[in-house]
Amino acid sequence: MSVVLSTASGIIALLDEPDNDLKTYALRKLDSLVDQFWAEISDSIGKIEALYEDEEFPSRTLAAIVASKVYYHLGFLDDSLLFALGAGQLFDVSQRDEFTRTLISKSFNDYIEKRNVITEEEHLLKLKKQEEEKNKKQSIFNDEEEEEEDSELENMLIDSDEDSEQDEGLYETKNEKIMLEKTEIEEIDPRLEKIINSVFRRCFLEKEFKEALGIAIEARRIDIIKEIIEMVENPDEMLTYCLTISRKYIQSRWYRQEVLTMLLEVYETRPELDYINICDILLFLNDVERLSEILNDLILEKTKESHLIACQIGFDLYENASQHFLHELTLLLPDPIPVNKPVEKDGIVAEYSPMEQKRLEYIKKMDQLKSILSGRTTINLHLQFLNRNNKTDLQNLIRLKEKTDSRHSLLTSMIVMAHGLLNCGTTSDVFLRDNLGWLANISNWSKFCSTASLGLIHKGHLDKGFDVLEPYLPQGSGGSSPYSEGGSLYALGLINTNHGEEVTPFLLEALKNCQRNNIIQHGACLGIGLSSMAVGDMQIYEELRGVLYNDDAVAGEAAGIAMGLLMLGTGNGKAIQEMWNYAHQTEHEKIIRGVSVGISLIMYGKEQEAEGLIEQLSSDKDSILRYGAMFTIAMAYAGTSNEKALKKLLHVAVSDVNDDVRRAAVIAIGFLLFKEPKQVPKTLSLLAKSYNNSVRFGAAMALGITCAGTANKDALELLEPLTKDLNNIVRQGALIATGMVLMQFNEKQEPKVSKIKDQFYEIVSDKYEHKMTKMGAILGAGLIDAGGRNVTISMQTTTGENDMAAIVGLAIFSQYWFWHPLTYFISLAFQPTALIGLNKDLNMPKFVVKSNAKPSVFAYPSPLVEVKKVEKKVETAVLSVTKKEQRRQEEKAEKKKLEKDNSEMDSEEVDEKKKEENKKIIEEEESTENEKEKEKEKEKEEEKEKEEEKEPKEEILENPTRITLDQRKYITFDVDPRYKPVKESAKFGIVMLLDTKPDETEELVEISLDTTEKKEEEKEPEPPEPFEYFSD
């Protein structure tokens, strides 16, 4: 006989028995039945808890485990864990059932949380103590005893810092001390600690080191991290892993520093010093002094490799470090005393002494390093790369241009803009030169734009920038139109973005001398903002403020943005206050907008510090300031994925009254989440279907910004319907965004590329399409192949840090909605996808790498197809017309003959006959043409097939080469017979190469930066022959 219990009430009633044995008996029964009857037992949980708390009750742990299980079933994990801890041995960590697993993960979460709070508090206390000690030490001379106590305390603190957890005793004494100060730190339950430790041990036994490392890092157990690194078989790998995850995931600044310091210690004890990683850590620790020492040592060391490593570190530093840091570093590097030229004596050419030669070499190397750190080398190399590998398909643009009404100034200037984007940094301005006549029609702000586009084309051309712009720059004496003068100043800023030491004075001068011409002021302000980005110079600031206070809408807007750029990321309170005040005074919306964007730039990267300002701005009555608030969130929390900020943005995106604010909120989401591009489509999928046009536009923009150059499937799926949206502005945004997402992809990787390119063309050539949509299509076409197809848009550097210039550039780019010339700011986010190998003299030697993928996968999209199409169309047109004419002439001749021969024939009949003949002939012609085309297509297909069959599985690429984001994983360095990279992990960017055959002469890649002579002869279709028009 077997029975299924329907209730546990009988057993529960036993708990009220006075006898302990009976209670224990009941508990044991309950423990076995709890999974079934937890609901019933939960009514009497109080009794069970009371039993657990009764110190005289013999089976307290049993009561605890029953209570824990009941709470687990009820979903009160906190209580459940508390009782499980009380259950001691009865809570068996090695069990694999769900209850145990859940509780263990819960205990980890709790532990991590508590450790975080405790370590944070400890850290604060430490800071406080240090400060107090400083103060005390100043007045220490009076009281010696106090000093002793102090030093004791200090020792203790240092000890407990080193192994805060291992030594419980010290930890407690420290706590006691803290208690004396009336600040309490919540202690971690030692039982919890025991469980955690036992789980760690189990991980070690099962060799799950990476998992354990992750938990240890999260739980801030530096002792365990160290233990793990020392324990594993391959510490180098573990070190690198630890370095990457601690950089990526540790939010707390000081803790990250602590972990990195520990890692640094470990690195330094390794037999082979890994300078590159060490310097990486030093950069994170902001330790300029040690970094400069290491660099100096590396240069002083004689081996070639060390010098190359120093250069490589220099390039990495330029990419990742802030301007300020680099500046400090350069100052700290020793300035070697120049060697005097040996005096010529008695006609004998004196030679340098060996000592001096050494010094000379050292000087040379040091100069090299400094120029690398200044960024000039990188910019120059990128410029050379972009110029050399320029694969712009001008036919595409010409095609679009032909379909654009030249009387329409908006679209014409868009074509010029698209051209600027296409040729950004390539210094190739063939198109502009070929179309000078057409450009001459452009006037007013379009002229401003087209002049500024020169700056885009010559971006990074630091040396020749001035020369190129010379004819347009303000000359002082009347000069040309203010629009081209203003545009050229803006262009100068674009060329010298972030490196404006040389041009800023000139721009300031131009600003002063322009006699308050607001157009020149506008250009000059933008130029100054770009060239002296994040410099924080108060003098320049005051100059710009002067322009702002003139209360001119056009100039004021630019001044507001420029002030933001100048003070970028400084959080300067005075500047914010002044700008905020002025935003409330002025009546010009443009100025308010410029200022509020400027404010947001000042708060770049400030995270929580910006909270107050955001609150203030987002509750303002003025919608433009609320708009600024959204951008402030975007800038302050860029790339952090901060949950609170995200919630706020989502709330505003659906609740604000003003469309601009809502749009800004959605775009800002993109800035927040750009480090997790895969998450963005999910987050935005609902917003992209919003009823509100602005929200849909914002969603499209945010997708474009975050998923640029990734061809993310989800993003494209969301964008596709938006490109066919009912609203023309939404279509515009979606087209631009699609262009961004598909950057650098060819048909083979993503079949949508050709489709979207055709769509761009169709939209532009469609008569009835709205001009706003056309504008989107033109810009999209410009972006998809931007920078000669050699750049991508990215807001993070290759190592995953925030790229400040890029983030700011995109933020200002998104203001193009109100002011088209700001479109150019997107160029700040262009990142050349290059692999550039350098030898010890920083020249590019002939060097090859292997890409283990079919060449066609990552090939540049072929430009020829389009060219053919155009030519063919023109040809056929010419053919039919001329032939028709010929036919007519023949007809005439025939007619005459006929008239002569058969004059009695009815003229009408003749006409009909002839018409029929004509038709036949034309049909024949057409059919032959069709056949020809078909044949051609067939041939093409066959060729393609052949190609596919023959296509090798790998490709040899020559230095310097384009390597797209997706291609990186296929790159190997094993093919070149001579050069080896210094940094193994580097598969892109600038790579220093070690010459294994230094005695042989080096072959260098030829570099020419001549912009004028490099005119590619494009085949233009012949104009049709003149003909006369006859009507039938």
């Binding site: 029975v3 329907s6 009430s9 009633a13 006075p18 076995s32």
Partner: protein, 261 residues
């Protein structure tokens, strides 16, 4: 089964069947019995091994005796506990054994117990567990009648019906029921009348004498003037409407609405 268990159970039965059972001895014996049964594994046995019907009957009988004992001792806590202990033997373990004669008596007492405490919800839950045919059994029927009258507010009816309970054991619960009814009436009169003359009060409260009313007045701090009873402690802590909070929230909603539209 061990001899000792039988011996203990016999002794326990003997003790319980006394007219005035000895409280201390009985409880001691019961605990002893339970421990012995627990050790034997026959107190709420698990389902993992086959059960011996004999053991179940034995345990059930002991637990039934325990219920009767608790009624005789008028120990209500014990009663409730014992009833819930014996119930599995009626419903779960009881499916395969002969029904106990005392089953309906004990369940009926439990029902009345719940009624006397005004725990109507539980009363109905328990009632559902009892088979429908058993509702005509006097032990159960009595409770059904009482519940009906209680629902009608026919307190006089209850008083008459309670004069003839189906078992002597019921009298404990009947008197408790009366008390709780009295309380109900007191609660109501307190709010319905400002004053009452003592005689009416006596009838209304279903009390035996005016003296009793006077005593009641004393415990409740009611004044008696000229043979009249004055109720004074009217509840003053009426729930106030949280005006400010409501106003604030409504204005908040209005603002949000304005923003959306």
């Amino acid at each position: 089964m061990e001899e000792q268990l039988f011996k203990l159970s016999k002794e326990f039965k003997f003790q319980v069947e006394q007219k005035q059972p000895d409280s201390v001895a009985c409880k001691k014996l019961l605990t002893k019995l339970k421990i012995a049964m627990a050790e034997e594994g026959i107190l709420f046995p698990g389902t993992d091994f086959p059960l011996d019907p004999k053991n179940i009957v034995f345990t059930r009988d002991v637990l039934e005796l325990a219920v009767i004992m608790s009624v005789k001792l008028e120990d209500m806590d014990l009663f409730e506990r014992q009833v819930s202990q014996v119930k599995p033997y009626y419903f779960d373990y009881g499916t395969e054994i002969k029904k106990s004669e005392n089953e309906l008596l004990i369940l009926g007492m439990n029902l009345l117990y719940l009624l006397s405490l005004n725990r109507i919800g539980e009363f109905h839950t328990e009632l559902e567990l009892i088979e429908f045919e058993s509702r005509s059994n006097p032990f159960i029927k009595f409770n059904l009648q009482v519940e009906e009258l209680l629902l009608d507010g026919n307190y006089l009816g209850i008083q008459t019906i309670c004069e003839k309970p189906p078992s002597d054991l019921y009298s404990v619960f009947v008197s408790r029921l009366k008390l709780s009814i009295q309380e109900l009436i007191l609660d109501c009169t307190n709010k319905s009348y400002k004053s009452l003359d003592l005689k009416t009060a006596k009838d209304l409260f279903m009390m035996e004498s005016i003296e009793e009313v006077k005593e009641m007045a004393k415990t409740n701090n009611w004044r008696i003037v000229d043979n009249k009873l004055f109720f004074e402690n009217l509840d003053e802590d009426e729930e106030k409407i949280p005006t400010n909070k409501v106003i604030r929230e409504i204005i908040g909603y209005a603002k949000e609405l304005e923003k959306i539209i």
